[in-house]
Symmetry: D2
Subunit: 137 residues, 4 copies
């Protein structure tokens, strides 16, 4: 098991995570198996419909999955993720992603991540991870 706290692990992860930094992701809170993170959508993140590219919301949710699932101290890798975009996101919008552990076994764990703008859901994300034996140090 890891000697690092959930918060120390996530800080270590985001320090080396160039793309989460480009997205402007900030950590709001971390617990064992959960986290809340936020970012602000910029003009360079839109697609051909002038709304946020689906990959932006996905990336935010995927980072939340990575932080939540690695917070236990063991390396966890995404196996399968799915996202439904339920409301268009615009430049200037501030998004909050809240990751929650639904189930956790020895090798596999499932998470849901809700992405919100002003407390209203804009995307629903579900992810399954595989845990190997490498500890966070």
């Amino acid at each position: 098991m890891s000697l690092l706290s959930p918060k120390e692990i996530v800080e270590k992860m985001i320090d080396q995570d160039a793309f989460s930094q480009w997205l402007g992701i900030r950590i709001l809170s971390v617990s064992k198996g959960g986290c809340s993170i936020e970012m602000t959508v910029r003009e360079e993140m839109v697609n051909g419909f002038r709304v946020a590219h689906g990959g932006i919301t996905y990336s935010l949710a995927d980072s939340a999955l990575a932080f939540a699932s690695n917070s236990h101290g063991q390396h966890a890798l995404s196996i399968e993720t799915a996202i439904s975009h339920t409301s268009p996101v615009l430049p200037g919008d501030q998004l909050v992603a809240i990751a929650k552990e639904l189930q956790s076994g020895q090798r596999l764990a499932r998470y849901e991540v809700t992405v919100q703008r002003n407390y209203k859901t804009v995307a629903l994300f579900k992810g399954t991870v595989f845990k190997n034996d490498t500890p966070w140090t």
Copy 2:
């Protein structure tokens, strides 16, 4: 129906798609309901494990879905997408995403996108879109 060809629609889309441009996406080919696009992974696209962030591969596949599903001339919006990352992607890797229409009805259509590096699959993506009545002009 649209007076634009599939290629003209996709060129129009990518012209206004700031995030696909940031990713460095290039169009290889476009047909009605399908496309091949490519990009090269850069250092600023990695996550805390020093491999490409899951959001990068997702974004490439999601752009391929958007181009393929809008190529018919009618606006199409993503309802639901899922991705499995099957092999780690590294900075310098050149990725090709190939979108193929699996089924197309009046309102709904399904696509699969295979993301490859040197003709070997690194991610499997599936997407469902909703078609509204707005034509591409």
Copy 3:
């Protein structure tokens, strides 16, 4: 809109639903956009591993999706569903499926269904439906 109440719609649906009857599904509660239903797993429902076939838990959850999404009075059809089986289910187990509406727009709505045994989750299900203009009468 339908003149029938959510409960009347679901009773009408299950009356004509031969497979839900074969499964032994019983309605526990119905509300606009939600429902709880239950069933007991029988010997004839197991697979080659002597545990409940994945299709049994899926079918229970899919019925819950159908009841919850049609309860508003408008016909709703499944577009896309996904399930994670998180714990093996055995003959004799009593399963409860709880459907909850996550989001509902004019044409599309998303639901999650949790399948439980003794208040512990055995499967996580997510579904998206398409609503057409046919009312329940």
Copy 4:
């Protein structure tokens, strides 16, 4: 590794699989990582819309996933599955499910299953399995 051939493993599985027998599933062909199976939809398999319950098509596809993924000789369990029902299925319809291995690693493997009626797709299914070390004997 197993001393049994893919065909012997699948025959062993279906012999003990009471629900696949109830469905009337017949094996058409088996190979390492793939299979084709068929069944005929009966009146007792319909839902409240008088079409085949979504759980019927799912169950057929899920059996195909189980047979294909266990055919290598190692026990494989479903982690995550998703299905899109693309065309209504009626009593009397003969369905064929074709399972194909998309990717296979040490612990995880991905499959797609296409369900067809008269060579036309009625459902698209994707599944991920986890392989443990128990051999088929």
